[in-house]
Amino acid sequence: MTRYIIQRLLLLIPVLLGISLVTFGMLRLIPGDPARIMLGEHATAESIARFRESMGLDDPIPVQYVRYLGRLVRGDLGRSIARQEWVTVELAQRLPATIELSLGAMLIASIFGISAGVVAAYKHNSLFDLGTMVGALIGVSVPVFWLGLMLSYVFGFKLHWLPPSARLTVGIQLQTIPAAYNIHLTGGLGSVAMSILNFLSNLYVFDSIVTGNPDALIDSLKHLVLPSVALSTIPMSIIARITRSSLLEVLGMDYIRTARAKGQHERVVLMVHAMKNALLPITTVLGLQFGTLLAGAILTETIFSWPGMGRLVVERILARDYPTVQGAVLVIAVLFVLLNLVVDISYAYLDPRIRYG
């Protein structure tokens, strides 16, 4: 197993290099002078020259790339043009929102997707089965942004059940974890710990639990529902389909017939005997869907004014703030690759045939 993991980690290196090459290339492939594009039409020749100098745009491309890589290794993604803030700082503020949203969506998608798939497989060819499969097809066909608008219109605006947008109601106070517990750490490790704590504090649900703030907890959960539901439709549909087909396949196997012949209770046959083997493909799909959620979040976040990575990318593309766009694209791609790696490794853990295959 360790050998397999090391092997997979080594294979990661060329992919990560490739990702860095793509994000590096983004800026250089823009037709025209990137400095002029980023600074706008009215920039003076002087400010453009200064900007080119500071970004190192006058050096040969390979030199620029090596310097870019060197900065990446040190965790330096440059400074945002729109905000004059370190890109890493901006990303650290936005990423938790996206993680929270993705986790919410994944939770909804797995609970409802797996249950629907199990029932559909068990009641194969029933009305429920047909309904689930047609529903799943509609689910993958619905534009997420449209569904988001409709949800926020119906449940947010018409029925007033849930807030139609944002992460927290104005007026609800949420303390960061260091502030709530008066934590002040300094020095190398201390500042790293502080950044981690601040990062975690931006996961509002987590923060409100840790800081013991029930009002904020309920409020942030309420805000989380609609965007999570909108984002969950596609993974939910895919999970339902995979669960159904994978369970159907397993239910047709001899050992299931044996289990039934032994007189095992149907529930045990289904949940213990069949599900154990049906879970393998489901795990893969779960992991892969988690990765695609990061992309789906772009549209959902825009609809619900959710201050996450996706919305950041869209805002900054329109503002031509390329360092931030580069950084965000890089972080999302790296997360995507790492998630896929975790899925592969857990898959190998669950199914030994993969390791030795």
Binding site: V134, F157, G252, A333
Partner: protein
């Protein structure tokens, strides 16, 4: 050859009582009774077999009907649309559906129904063109990788892996941010991000076909390599690409709508469904009809391609059945 699809189907006795409603059998027939693959018939019998399976698949036919309706709308848009899609009746803006304007008027007073009909042209064009472009480039890369093998295979496939490391929509957004917003650039972006998928499918397909007896036979009698690739391998490797392409059109239409919604695709006043949603977004609480209809159009169109794609997959290759 045993039919692997049969293993997916559980034994009839496992069906719980009460679920054998006769009204259901037709629509689920593709799940319950897969036609076995027959290899001993005339050369085109596989295709005929597939067509017969497809005709029996009610969901796939429904998908085909939806697509045909949208194609008719696109082709005959000037005849079918009651109004000019860009003509504005400013005084009547945001008017809800009425007898004169079936789907109402948008935020600047344009007839939504007419815009949707013209929008079918754009969506179908983007879907078809981007997928065709991606299939041509992707299959070429995949075929070369699979056929030639060696370092070229490694190089091409590692490049594809890198592109696959980005979530599709994000990469498309990045490409559009480089090329600049616009309908054509969006189409290129969507085509670009789908290339790796087709390359992978084609490569896998070529790898398996390459080893089959008729290819070995062609080699043995001295048929030139390029001819083997063009005449023997490619036609026999194309089925999975075709299935992926049909489903790919659905994804392309959805992605295009998303990009236009974000303001990165079609520019106003183009009647593109996604940008109609994007422009009408601000009116969702006051005049929801402006947003409801374009969304339904996108969903229905995408559903059509998904239904047909699923049906094609089941008909052409029962092993891939879900």
């Amino acid at each position: 050859m045993s039919n692997p699809a049969a293993q997916i189907i559980p034994p009839e006795e496992s069906q719980p009582p009460g679920s054998s409603d006769p009204a259901l059998t037709p629509s689920t027939s593709r799940v319950s009774s897969p036609a076995p693959l027959r290899q001993s018939q005339a050369p085109n019998s596989l295709l005929q077999d597939a067509l017969r399976r497809l005709k029996r698949d009610k969901l796939a036919i429904a998908g085909l009907v939806i697509i045909v309706l949208f194609v008719i709308a696109a082709v005959f848009a000037p005849l079918l649309a009651p109004y000019d899609p860009t003509a504005q009746k400013i005084l009547l803006r945001r008017q809800p559906p009425s007898r004169l304007h079936w789907m109402g008027l948008d935020e600047v007073g344009r007839d939504i129904f007419s815009r949707l009909i013209y929008g079918a042209r754009i969506s179908l064009q983007i879907g078809l063109l981007s997928v065709t472009l991606a299939i041509v480039i992707g299959s070429m890369l995949g075929a070369i990788a699979g056929f030639v093998g060696g370092w070229l295979d490694d190089l091409i496939m590692r490049l594809m892996d890198i592109l696959l490391a980005f979530p599709g929509l994000l990469l498309a957004i990045a490409v559009v941010s480089i090329l600049g917003p616009g309908l054509m650039n969006m189409m290129y972006a969507i085509a670009f991000v789908s290339i790796p998928a087709y390359a992978r499918i084609m490569r896998a397909s070529v790898l398996s076909v390459k080893e089959q007896e008729f290819v070995v036979a062609a080699r043995a009698v001295g048929v030139p390599t390029m001819r083997i690739l063009w005449r023997e391998i490619l036609p026999n490797s194309f089925t999975p690409v075709l299935v992926a392409g049909t489903l790919g059109i659905a994804t392309a239409i959805l992605d295009a709508a998303g990009l236009s919604f974000l303001g990165l695709g079609a520019r106003p006043p183009t009647p593109e469904w996604g940008s109609m949603l994007g422009e009408g977004r601000g009116s969702v609480f006051t005049a929801p009809h402006i947003v409801i209809f374009p969304g339904l159009a996108i969903m229905l169109n995408v559903l059509g391609f998904n239904l047909l794609g699923d049906g094609l997959r089941d008909a052409l290759d029962p092993r891939l059945r879900m």
